[in-house]
Subunit: 381 residues, 4 copies
């Protein structure tokens, strides 16, 4: 693991998600750029001292030098964006599979290099667009694919947070600091941090790909150097259109993701803050509350594979992360054994999604501040 | 009453709303362009035969000829859009006050003429943007005005319906027919029918006025001659921005209006389908469910004036209409008596809102189909 | 109208409900025991001075003396419980139909006398158990009757309020005063005021009748002379059982009624504070949100008869009252014309329900304080 | 681990909960009474062959014979009720700490023996009343304890499931079989399986203890040998009262737990199916939605200790289990080191709760079928 020291947030989520299924062990790590934090964190995670490293470079070299059955099987990179590309590229070069948080890199250019390296090595890279890990999102994807709501016409996706309402990054000591520093986070603020999640959900669930967009990016909190609010009209390759809304200045909102897709015959809605229900809406009959884990024969096998407990026992954010880790682990293991992973196992975001994510950010940034040009084609590689 | 025959929908709502408060009697009407329906409808409403008319022209002439204490005090016009301007203008010319459904006219040009006539005569015209009649919307307006959520930054308003998912207008015999005929409805389809409601809510609640917008209008159902889906980025004069979303092809949605306003200190949310709650959201403390009718001292007098029953006893759509009618009636009576109506009484949409509504439609239609120009200034009179 | 002065709560609801449908006019009244309030109230309701009375006895005599086409058709009694029996009995004796608020009388003995008088005269008496007037409750009734959820097994009904958490009756000047005075309200406090509503809903919806019960009544607020909390296990004649819970000391609750019925094949749930949805639950498929007013062909005609607006436009408490008034009016008119009212028109609570309601109160009061006897048979007339 | 083979439900939950925090490893187990399932399950959990056992007796002997630093630190028992007492008692005799699922034993007699053994050995026993592990339940407990809602007056707790609506136990091959067999489950059906959870929540949150109760137990599904529906009026030692409702025949319900506590100044409500919100209700101000994980300073440290992710990222059932495991692990470790565990660490149900749980079942069973005696004192040890 690179990052995830005891002072970090998302690292602990990754750790729990990885461990929960008993398919993954934490064997080594460089948990912080601060050597003391790395060591104390590693010890608190029960990692032996000789495998707690103080730089990721050292970690990769030493792990690569270990016998195959001892060295780590993959590395998880949970650092701020600017420390994504370097470790990921080096890990791939040394033959390690990679799990990496989104957005994948600091720039599209870096993303393309990573993609080429993955293609070249045949290794596996998973990108933790965690919201696509929820069972109800998977159920939505499968239902759309099999035509339950008819031809898709409109996608509405919103992601509202309020934690950046004030410029708390100026106080320091929190997750807002690097996210609002373009050198560490990249060109996008809100659009990179949560806009990419919203975009990914829309493409994941519908199976469509954005081709052009009209956007407005705003710096709502005075003086903030990156956007904290972004919205866009989206056109997709399959002929339908969408509206994307992401904001981090919606005062009082927590992590309010809401996805709706409307087709010719029906519609569906999912809300992340109560993630175990998928609402199906119809022209000619009452709306249905499709509940994850429920024993009735109304859920796809694809969904059941990603569900742990019976209906009424809520699953949450960590379980959603764990779905990505488990599917990634099964895929890595299958490929290591020369086998072909199943469709269920391959169901996690990859380096290709990472490239599209960076294209999304760059297209949004180009379009979002331009008062003159209305529509922007998707930035192509 | 002009329109509102037994075959119509909104006329019955107007009637109930007007009668509920025992301040208004139904004394005469031309209830349909079809004389038979007008007569049978009038009789079923207990209107005496001699005051059931078969044309509105006849009605206005004959009523105007009655002694002052007998003739109608005002006329309600609840016909399709193209029959708004004519009756309204004639009523004003003859000295009658007017209640009219939205959008006010078929074109901005007509709207401006009506406005001039109202200004000239000093008569009162109420426009039934019913959603601004809900107590919780009024509470939101007052709270924003007194600074509860700080300076406003973002307004999100959406209005989703699904009843036009299919081209039911082709079947005939329903409310969709005239709404999808530009000759009867005007240039806007969805943008006129429900987009104007969404826009009005945003301006009513925040007290801001849209100055420019970037829009996309779509004809989602194949072959439909008017838009059935419209969305826009909005810029307001007070420095904040907004996102408006209106659609009539959101399959399975009924009348899903959701308004959110976020300020520097807090946010608020209101949903029409459960209209008796206003959600207040905060940076530094739990969200609150502010309930209409509740006895705690947390509601403004402005709101209480528009509430009929104690908390927990739901009020709905008809009561919201009745608030407009009651306030209109109080205002007309006060003005007739040479008195100045109170702020509470004057709280209903007027001819000025009607003009702005037509400007909204015309700006949206201009902006919504133009692939090249991003921002459109508000169409000025 | 007897009662309903400008200082009362429920009278205004009755008035609006009666007027909304344009089937009923307010022609006379004795609006208060205080003559001044009666007169000023009557004038504010536009009742002519000669038909504003200062005692109900006077009103009934004078109205009875008017020509048939002039005198009132029925009287609405909206006074505290102890003033129910007298006016109702006298009205029936003089040939007037009656609408009366619940509980019908101060004692079972009075109730039986009223029932005998109704049977003797053939007049119509409606009891405003308003919650059975909601469309979704009617839909529930019809669905159960036609077997949608299979044989009924369990009924859970709760009615929670918090307004009597403190002994506000001691402050005076509010609706709590007479409700907590056994001389004015009768033996039951909470059990009479809201427990009867809960009981009535259970019988109305299931079609079953309580045969015996085990109850606990409590005076939670110290020193209160009547119960403010009541719960009971119920046994019904049709073989199923139920649980009833009513409280007025559930701090912070408004008017939280929740009804659930479970059968062998399905279950249903309704909540008064969002009254336009009926939730249907199933063993083998997703739960459904059955929405009132929705155009899909999934609602019974019985329900549609009691619905005013399309789905998504909320109806509320006053509309529910209006359903009782309208059905009563249709029934009275049909009977006056020698016709047989339809099943839809006859759908309002009658004097028979009023008798059962008093039996409920008396059985609960007997059972609720007895530490020794577990089960009480329904008090028979 | 005893039980939890690949064919079981709750074992997998325990495993994930135990592993998630990286404080516990799965080192050995007897995962099934079927040796083949035990071995294949153990292997799939990556337990070495030499520590996969085919009887729990063998496991305990062999583990006890291992050097202290190698042998298991505690055992988790996740078998049907009748296999609780034997392994638990033997584990304690051999010096192992114990985690055990509820209800603790088959009878009160067994429970008392276990309690005596725990007291005698000073070992730690945790009982997985998982619902008390939710952060919002802990917040409720602390708020009540510090007087936020004033003196408690009424507790309403309900637990509704529908999965036993039909007699699926007759089909075999599912979790319903042993639960509906008194020899395997004990005297209580519903009352033992879920009634105990409801009772425990009520005592945990309020800090009160039931002293007497009036109950009705029913066998709603025809022919079922144990109760599938139970309700009770409860009297607590601290002077307040409650209503408990548990059912497994509420067709279509999943795992619907709802807890409400009302005091003199406020009330609170929690619902397990959306567990991350605690609703606070007040006489004199709007209800609040207190959200777990939210950064505002409105949550107790006690709650924060049991929360993993920021507000808006839902936690669920497995995290709640993990709270019990983590607190248990911290306590065991502290005690092993001769230290005193903190209040937070000691916050898990113990053998004393297990005894009370069996008392609850036995009291309910005695009271629930007796038509003559109304109130039953709590069965004392």
């Amino acid at each position: 693991m690179v990052g995830g020291g005891s002072d970090a947030f998302i690292g602990a989520v990754h750790r729990r998600a990885a461990l929960m299924e008993n398919e993954i062990e934490l064997v080594c790590g460089c948990f912080s750029v601060n050597p003391e934090i790395s060591i104390s964190s590693g010890r608190s995670y029960y990692v032996p001292d000789n495998r707690i490293y103080t730089t990721w470079e050292e970690m990769f070299e030493k792990e690569a030098a270990l016998p195959a059955e001892e060295r780590m099987d993959f590395v998880t990179i949970v650092t701020p964006n600017r420390f994504h590309f370097g470790p990921a590229m080096r890990a791939l070069e040394l033959g390690f599979n990679v799990v990496i948080d989104k957005p994948m890199t600091l720039s599209l250019e870096e993303a393309l290099k990573l993609r080429d390296k993955v293609r070249e090595t045949g290794l596996t890279l998973a990108l933790t667009h965690v919201y696509s890990g929820y069972p109800a999102v998977k159920e939505a994807k499968k239902r759309i694919a099999r035509g339950d709501i008819g031809r898709v016409r409109r996608v509405f996706v919103e992601y509202s947070q309020g934690w950046l309402t004030q410029r708390i990054e100026l106080k320091g000591g929190n997750n807002a600091v690097w996210r609002n520093d373009p050198k560490q986070a990249g060109k996008g603020g809100c659009v990179g941090d949560i806009g990419t999640h919203a975009w990914h959900l829309a493409e994941y669930v519908t199976g469509g790909r954005v081709t052009e967009l009209c956007a407005e990016l705003q710096h709502v909190a005075e003086g903030r150097p990156v956007d904290d609010d972004a919205c866009a009209f989206l056109h997709f390759d399959k002929g339908f259109t969408g509206l994307l809304q992401a904001t981090q200045v919606a005062t009082g909102e927590e992590n309010n993701i809401r996805l709706r897709v409307y087709g010719e015959k029906g519609g569906l809605e999912w809300r992340q803050m109560e993630p175990n229900t998928l609402y199906m809406k119809w022209i000619d009959r009452p709306a249905e509350e499709v509940r994850m884990g429920n024993g009735y024969g109304f859920l796809t096998d694809f969904t059941k594979h990603n569900t742990r407990v019976p209906g009424g026992h809520p699953e949450g954010f960590i379980e959603s992360f764990a779905n990505i880790y488990r599917n990634f682990a099964y895929t890595v293991r299958a490929r290591s054994a020369g086998e072909t992973p199943s469709e269920e196992w391959l169901d996690f975001p990859t380096v290709e999604d990472g490239v599209r994510g960076m294209q999304f950010i760059e297209t949004m940034v180009a379009a979002g501040y331009d008062r003159d040009q209305k529509w922007y084609k998707w930035v192509e590689e």
